[in-house]
Amino acid sequence: MSESTTAIINLTTGEVRVGETPPELVRAYLGGRGLNMAYLRRYLHAAGDPRQVDPLGPDNPLIFGAGLLTGTIAPNAARFNVSAKSPESGILGDANCGGFFAAAMRKAGFDRLVILGRAERPSLILLEDGRVHVQDASDLWGLENMPAQNALKERFGRGTISAVIGPAGENKVRMAGVMTGQKNTAGRGGMGAVMGSKNLKAVVARGGKAIAVAQKETLRAVRIQQQKYLKSSKIVQVLGHVGTPLLYEVSNRLGAIRTRNSQDNYFEDSLNAEEIEKYSDKMLACTSCVVHCRHRNTLGGEGPEYSTIGLLGANLGIAPTDQVITLNNLVNDLGLDASSVGTIIAWAMELYQRGLIGDDLTGGPLNWGDYETVHGLIEDIAHRRGFGDVLAESTRAIRFFPPEAQDYLIAVKGLPQSDPHDVRYFKGFALGIAVASRGADHLRNRPTLEVFKLPDEVREKIYGRPNDPDPTGYKDKGLIVAWGDDIFAVTDSLGICKFVTHGFNSPHLLGYDHFCDLIAAAAGLKFTPESLREVGRRALDTERLINADFGLSRADDTLPKRYFDDPMPARKTKGHHVDREQFQRMLDEYYEERGWDADGRVPTERQAEIEGLGERLETED
């Protein structure tokens, strides 16, 4: 088995320890998200009571973890996870990101960094040929995303790849992401704010150590075979032409686009993919990608994605294509999570519309579609100026608003919903965001196959037993969400992109069998599809235990009030909402599928196994 290397870096003391990741932990969690969760739980416990750990204090561990396959020639193996206690939600924080940084981190000799403490002055971590250096970065403090990355290239040479924070992270904005390249963002949960709280401007990787591979020729053969298979897929071809903006027209036609804070459910055609394409001059890719889904836009940035179009466009009532692309570029320059920003500004706009907040707090009108105001407000959020300082608190801004403001917040577990899909229609989507471990998020489990009219036998083959094909019904949604949980946790732990993952936008693509072949060839580990799914289950159990440590329970697996109480207003989805009693039955079924008890607790014997694995991780004490 290839060795996995973890560096424990204490920014307070300057101490750095580099060692092998315990092989039994790699076997149990693979890497990326799964292994990050094992480290996160261990270090939060080492700091004392996890509930008392200040997310923006020195005790919060900040973990960068590359996937087990990241940086190899496995298809679309570019990704890494950044994890910590979230300053946005106050619970499990975990963000997944593509680009080129994670491959560079592994080539520099590291699979995982556990960053502790707080540097005295603005600093950077340089990873180079298996060594860690902590250096002064005072000259970079205040720089936006790309100027910071460009300065690092100038300082350390052309082959340098960095993950940085922009002004938002420096100012501990709770929606700040970690950026690499123009657009790739570890966006969810405020990981950029955690980095800022540690006075850490950048993690820089350079050096050319080859990533160890168990069977090079076999891996090459598997890659060629899987690439051919993937390229024959329609969704891979279409994403390569137009990227995720293709989803907007479909959701909008259904009447499932979050519009004006989900008061409406459809919007203008000006945000259709064909309009976005007019501003695109090239499609870009991440490390080892066969899809090439990312636009380079002619307004000076990359993107936008479907999520950005929806949440900075329809959700704010902004229709002109160029304005939405400009806002996309702005959040990337400042280092913000577009999903949270678009949701939180829309929330404030509805509060203003309803007279629940006024000019005394906002500093002036806050109206739907007011591009200039939104542009200024995003800058103010990043720099914590005026009303922007209030919204920089994300969901925690509730303390500045009257109590009924909670009724209009589209968030779960303190995290704004990630994607622009109004989930009141597809009940599996609703269950998915309710139970997602980091809060309202579609990339933990979304059962996207619900929209396909797949034959019963195909659905049975995928999910393991017969299941109800009605996407608007409540039956069997626990089954399909738990299925998505597991396979997405595995891909996040391998470092592979969802766009080539079986069940995400396609009933084809790479599944457990394909992953077993890749893991055997790349890492020399033998898995069966069943034992690999067990890794996903273990990751979900570990995440559930982390959130239980923070005091979460069944009551937190819920939805925004609006999704229960307000029927969708128009189009095909008109009248749909989530019934509270039926929702509880979906939750029962979901817990049963997960093997949790009726209160959503992990069984004692599985908890004991996870505790045992965690104890093998060395901590400072």
Binding site: K234, I235, Q237, V238, H241, V242, T244, L246, L247, E249, V250, S251, R253, L254, G255, A256, A273, E274, Y306, S307, S418, D419, H421, F426, F429, H442, L443, R446, T448, E450, V451, F452, K453, F504, N505, A570, R571, K572
Partner: protein
Amino acid sequence: MNVHVRLAEPFWRVVGQRNLDVELAAGSRMADLLAALLAQYPALAQEFADAPPLLFVGEDEADEATVLGDGRHVHLVWPIAGG
């Protein structure tokens, strides 16, 4: 009668245009429209086989039995809803 057809991604690519006007006999149904499209653009057959489109007439979802009227807007959408 004349029906306005909008082809969303990826269907339009094998046709070469996103918006079409199709002449049909009065009283035609969606199935007749699909047959007319396939006759004129055979490459659509593979597209529809890969992913049968969601069909809309105006704001409403339709099926092959839906009766079309003169001047109606038909929208063929790829069945996808990811993120």
